[in-house]
């Protein structure tokens, strides 16, 4: 499951830095808050955002998120015999496991890199970041192709570890180095030079959408904090 497979939604159109700030805020408060009701507010916010943003997790992603939460909550209940403790740890984990992945799933690498230009990072570093990000699915594809090709080669004699080294690890390294060399050459042939000034076609700005999103997140976090530490709603 990668960002490119997610449908367009208000979450994909947000400034990536807004989403990062929200994810950091939710993560911090998930660690600070102890009240299960306050943590439930944050968890509900994340579920609401995922539903409204039409985030596709797939069954594997859903299992990957829910199983650890269920194990932690169930384990805590068995050890402490306290529903409150079980809910606290389960919900905390749900917020930790939900906030950052939703942010990552709805942010395209190119958008993130372009938004980082606000931080005035060197262009070479940003393009390198973009390429590293792009390389992850490429590496996964190489591995799948190598495994498939191995299978197609039919029965193979010899030691299993030696075989894995020669038929999986070495080809993966060769293909990765070859790919990196070709990409490097292609970049230079397209005029890329990290030492030269460059412009950016599209730099994500802050708009009303980001403002509305920030208000919603801040409101829920404030309500959750007030619930725990007292205040108008406590």
């Amino acid at each position: 499951m990668i960002a490119a497979e997610q449908p367009e939604s208000f979450l994909t159109r947000l400034n990536p830095l807004t989403k990062i700030a929200a994810a950091v805020l939710l993560t911090t408060f998930a660690l600070l808050l102890r009240s299960p009701w306050a943590l439930a507010m944050l968890a509900l916010l994340i579920v609401g955002l995922a539903v409204a943003g039409r985030v596709r997790l797939g069954w594997r992603g859903t299992v990957f998120l829910l199983v650890p939460v269920a194990i932690v909550a169930g384990g805590n209940y068995l050890v402490s015999d306290s529903i409150e403790d079980a809910a606290r740890f389960g919900l905390r984990l749900a917020v930790l496991f939900g906030g950052i992945p939703i942010c990552a799933l709805t942010t395209r690498p190119a958008d993130l890199v372009r938004s980082l230009t606000w931080l005035r990072l060197p262009a070479g570093l940003l393009i390198a970041l973009l390429l590293v990000w792009r390389f992850v699915p490429v590496l996964a594809r190489f591995l799948a192709e190598i495994r498939e090709a191995n299978m197609l080669r039919g029965p193979w004699r010899g030691n299993r570890f030696r075989r894995a080294y020669r038929t999986v690890i070495m080809p993966l390294m060769t293909m990765s180095v070859d790919y990196a060399e070709r990409v490097g050459m292609a970049l230079e042939l397209r005029g890329f030079d990290p030492g030269r000034p460059r412009t950016w076609y599209r730099v994500p700005g802050w708009g009303l959408r980001d403002l509305a999103f920030s208000i919603v997140v801040l409101t829920v976090v404030t309500l959750a904090a007030c619930w725990q530490w007292g205040g108008p709603v406590a």
């Binding site: 190119a110 299978m151 029965p155 230079e188």
Partner: protein, 470 residues
Amino acid sequence: MIRVNDLHYRYPGQETDTLRGVTFAAAAGTMLLVSGPTGSAKTTLALTLCGAIPKLLGGRLQGWLAVNGTSLDDVPVRTIARCVGVVMQNVECQLVNDRVTDEIAFSLENFAVPPGDMEREIDRALRRAGAEHLRDRYLGTLSAGERQRVALASVLCLGQQVLILDEPLAYLDRSAARALLGQLRQLADHGTTVVIFEHRRDMVAPLADEELRLDRGSLIDVCEPPSQLPAIDLPQSLGEDRLVFDRVTYALAGRTLLAGVELRVRAGESVVLLGDNGSGKTTLMRLALGLAKPAAGEVVTCGRRVNKTSRRRLASDAALVLQNPDHQLFLPTVAEEVRATARDPAAARSELETLALEDCQERHPHCLSTGQKRRLTLAAALARRPKLLLLDEPTVGQDDESLALMIRRLRDYVTDGGSLLVATHDHRAAKALAHRIAILENATTRPGGPELAEAYFEAGRARLCTKEHV
């Protein structure tokens, strides 16, 4: 526009020159075809013309090379990139963004074009590359032909006077190839010097103004290669079924690729699978070896029901040679590559000899030319003595001589009782190898005899834009 005089080039660590005394000139607005067999140094010359050799790849370059009157000797690659655009053999490595517009803008960004001017330049480049309809797409959703167009647009946006394309037709079906060549002809007519390095000269030559032929790094006289390969003999009798598709349906991401497909390949029979890019040819081959699962229907390979049999067991009787040879070559030498899964050492030796790979037995497979790599993957597959052989685009990167070698070996394989299923865009291979034809279109197969290949490619050629018609 381009002047090359007595060019010699030697790769680092090699003892002989790869380019040997190449001399030619191409005027502005010329469409130049550089053809030649595999390993003839077409890619080396392409990389030299754009400055990658020797500036990025090292080695020793002698002779004189100028573009637009300026010698490339002391000019940095970045400056050359402003007037010479390159579309590489593998466009995958050339594309670094995920949106089409971002990809085209990347070239403009590198030359610090003001963001306000970029939209106009992007639109113009998309128009010139015939890719306006792809503007809002993501690269991950594009076909091979569409990616080629985006790569072309990302080069054209800078308005270079020289355009170099290395094997641009390699993975394109007849309609995508036809459209791309038409677009390139138009660019040449508007003053761009277009240099196409391509072994499918039959497709490019009718549109090109000039042709250069390379052989082992030297220019030689252009001569018409034998246009016809001897056709495969029709078998006297056919044996048991080796591959059966019984009303097979397959869908991917909500799109039905195959709907109730029926196909049968018997012992001693060769079937050629034709169809445009994305018609499902590769998928059909993957289904035959259990690499994909049908939504409905049944596939029986070498007497085994595919969904009830392990893939390893299927692969012991049937062999699939993939489209990209790089993904099937793992071992440190050519000889080991063939021996690793060969039925016996004699089979490995015989395949290396028959497919003219004897001389490069000790070389690393990744150092071979594309054509040699393809012959190597074929040799490795045949050395296993499979009952059923599936070949996905086996002719990419093959010159006429190399292709003839492959065809001869495949004919012997079929004559000896092997079953062959070949997916190809190449009319020479289709005509030479087909006992029967199956055309994949509209998610189903249209079966027929060898005459169907003739009709299929004639229909394509009739629509092929000739120079006069563009």
